[in-house]
Amino acid sequence: MSNNNKGELIELLKDGVINFKDDQVKDAAQKAVDAGYPALEMIMEGLAAGMEVVGDLYERQEYFVPEVLMCADALYGGLDILRPHVPKKDGGAIAQVVIGSIQGDVHDIGKNLVKMMFDVSGWMVHDLGRDVPLENFVKEQLRTDAEVVAMSAMMTTTMLGMRKVIKMIKEKNPNVAIMLGGAPVTQDVAKLFGADGYAESAGNAVKEGIKMISRLREYEKKKA
């Protein structure tokens, strides 16, 4: 198989994510699998690279959340096809993250976008869903020994629960990194609550997630 073909498929994956062309992404992903191209390379150089561009478009306010959601759908279409073909050696999780929307909060768009970024980056994601009882974040972190706990809230009233969770987790394991996100969360609030990281909104969560993917791609290149 020629490198051009692989290169073309990578470009089709990337373009498909950027322009939310679900069928194009699925088609390119399947062709890559059929051709035996390295699935992890197709994910990182195609899908993840496309999502980096999406993040940039979002930053420049050319794309907004609806566009980003559709790009995410396209990405997942390809990821579902490629991921099973990533060899276990290459596919070992970078790290683990427990993620969820805080108790009382049913908004989960931002949380799902962040989850996707972790997914694509090769993290093991333990998604607790939404309206997650506070103690469940603690239980899941202890169960999985996840390095990161990410919580989101979209309402000022539900945000208060984050502080309690941080306290409970830090008492048991001070080395866990805790990231907060959601519209009412500010840098000041995250700092006040004792969090280690912060993403202001779904959009910022995408940006932060994109940065993580960029760092991971650099890491993978150095490793190779």
Binding site: Q61, F64, T156, T157, V189
Partner: protein
């Protein structure tokens, strides 16, 4: 609004008006896009803006009708003014173009239907939307726009000029609730708010349950006394 539990709100309005007739009582309704997103899964609605536009428009129209009727019921119960709050449409979520095409006409229709002093509030990044917000106010006969902490009030004032009524936008957590915020700092926050040329001090978003009484009382005193005198709004209202 005559069925439980919806009928509790008009009843509450009547009780408050009876007990404290000297106070202005505001009612509010969430806007159609936000209500739609809370009813039908917001990500479906957001994607539907592109993939099923007509369907989303039809659903938004139905919510618009409901909101108009609910607002009328609250005003009939005795509310002195009403705020239309549409937190789900700011530029952190939707493009200004989508706002103009999909949201602006519906917010205008709702506010036009209410016969009372009325305010349009949108949470989030509204710097790109504030001119359209003011257009909605003008087209509907409303009185003011209200914005939250993410709005650059100084820039909004430059864009809208001194004839626009801008309400906002103190930080609802930092000033009244944060443990480390002293009363003096809370007072300074309100002064900064007023110096930013708002026409009335309003919270930027929902008030938290964890309010420190001493901070809030000091904030309220400052709002009444700092730069006391006629606001630029006097004379602007018809």
């Amino acid at each position: 609004m005559d069925r439980y539990p919806m009928n509790l709100i008009p009843e509450a309005i009547k009780i408050v008006k009876k007990e404290a007739p000297e106070l202005a009582l505001g009612a509010w309704q969430l806007g159609p896009f936000t209500q739609c997103g809370q009813t039908i899964e917001l990500d479906k609605v957001l994607k539907g803006v592109f993939k099923e536009r007509k369907r989303v428009e039809d659903i938004l129209d139905k919510f618009t009708d409901i909101i108009i009727n609910n607002g009328k019921a609250l005003l009939a119960a005795g509310a002195d003014f009403i705020t239309l709050r549409e937190p789900g449409v700011a530029a952190d979520l939707l493009s200004p173009r989508t706002f103009k095409e999909l949201i602006q006409p519906r917010l205008t229709r709702i506010l036009s239907a209410w016969r009372a002093p009325k305010v349009l509030h949108i949470c989030g990044s509204t710097d790109l939307l504030v001119e359209m917000m003011w257009q909605i106010v003008k087209d509907s006969g409303a009185q003011a726009v209200s914005v939250d902490m993410k709005n650059n009030i100084v820039e909004s004032r430059k864009k809208l000029g001194n004839d626009a009524l801008i309400l906002g936008n103190f930080d609802v957590f930092k000033l009244p609730c944060a443990e480390e915020t002293t009363v003096e700092q809370a007072v300074d926050g309100i002064k900064k708010n007023i110096d930013g040329l708002v026409d009335a001090v309003w919270p930027g978003c929902d008030l938290w349950p964890d309010i420190k009484e001493e901070n809030l009382r000091a904030m309220e005193r400052t709002a009444r006394t700092y730069k006391a005198g006629p606001t630029p709004a006097v004379g602007r209202l018809n």
